[in-house]
């Protein structure tokens, strides 16, 4: 199945991407999905990362579904 993965700020710079399509096995949970994404872009390991699934912070156990919107970013620094 395919999901969208978004990167912002530092993670966009490290991956050279802002949005990609990414293939995952069915019944992958968020922790596994993000581990695979980080494996594909190892420079992300330079950062403490936060993850979101469908625009909500991920707790890790969520089952990812085809078409979901995932996001990988560093600790926020707005304000």
């Amino acid at each position: 199945m395919k999901v969208q993965v978004l990167f912002f700020g530092a993670t966009a710079d490290e991956t050279g991407e802002r949005e990609i399509e990414f293939s995952l096995a069915e019944n992958t949970n968020a922790n596994q999905a993000f581990a695979e994404i980080v494996e594909k872009f190892p420079r992300l390991k330079n950062h403490k990362l936060l993850f979101a699934v469908n625009q909500e912070y991920a707790s890790g156990g969520e089952i990812v579904k085809g078409g979901d919107e995932l996001a990988v970013f560093t600790a926020v620094s707005g304000g």
Partner: protein, 142 residues
């Protein structure tokens, strides 16, 4: 009457604060956050803000709902600017009207603290000789 917005345009702090004024309140507390020139001795040239916009708006909405549970407040407004900001330009406005000013102060302070912790917006600092994406404290549990 609450509002939460993200914009690329300059922010008019006074006008934003006036949008939360209700008939039964006598004071509004407003935080005007702007680009500081010096941070720990380093000179900033400008900042660039970027957001995960739909999620940022959802998180702002949640913050306002939580603030309403915690504090006796009447109206809240949050506006965050994106893009390139020069020194002194306003990046964020948090404004709260409440019947009693104690609650307005508390809610305003809580909202900016939580916004900086949870709303997916990032700033890149461009200083003399380099630039860096600022990373906050990773306080959100994954």
């Amino acid at each position: 009457m609450d509002f939460f917005e993200i914009t690329n345009d300059p922010l008019d702090v006074g006008a934003i604060a006036r949008r939360v004024v209700p008939a039964n309140c006598g004071a509004t507390i407003t935080l005007d956050g702007y680009v500081r020139q010096f941070t720990k001795g380093r000179e900033t040239l400008h900042l660039v803000y970027e957001a995960y916009e739909p999620m940022a708006l959802k998180e702002m909405e949640k913050l306002i709902a939580k603030a309403r549970e915690r504090f006796e407040i009447e109206n809240v407004g949050i506006v965050h600017r994106l893009g390139k900001l020069e020194i002194g330009e306003t990046s964020v406005v948090v404004t709260v009207a409440a019947p009693h000013r104690r609650a307005a102060f508390e809610a305003c302070e809580w909202l900016i603290k939580e916004l900086k912790r949870t709303v997916p917006i990032w700033k890149k600092e461009v200083y003399r000789g380099g630039e860096i994406w600022i990373e906050g404290e990773p306080a959100i549990k994954n």
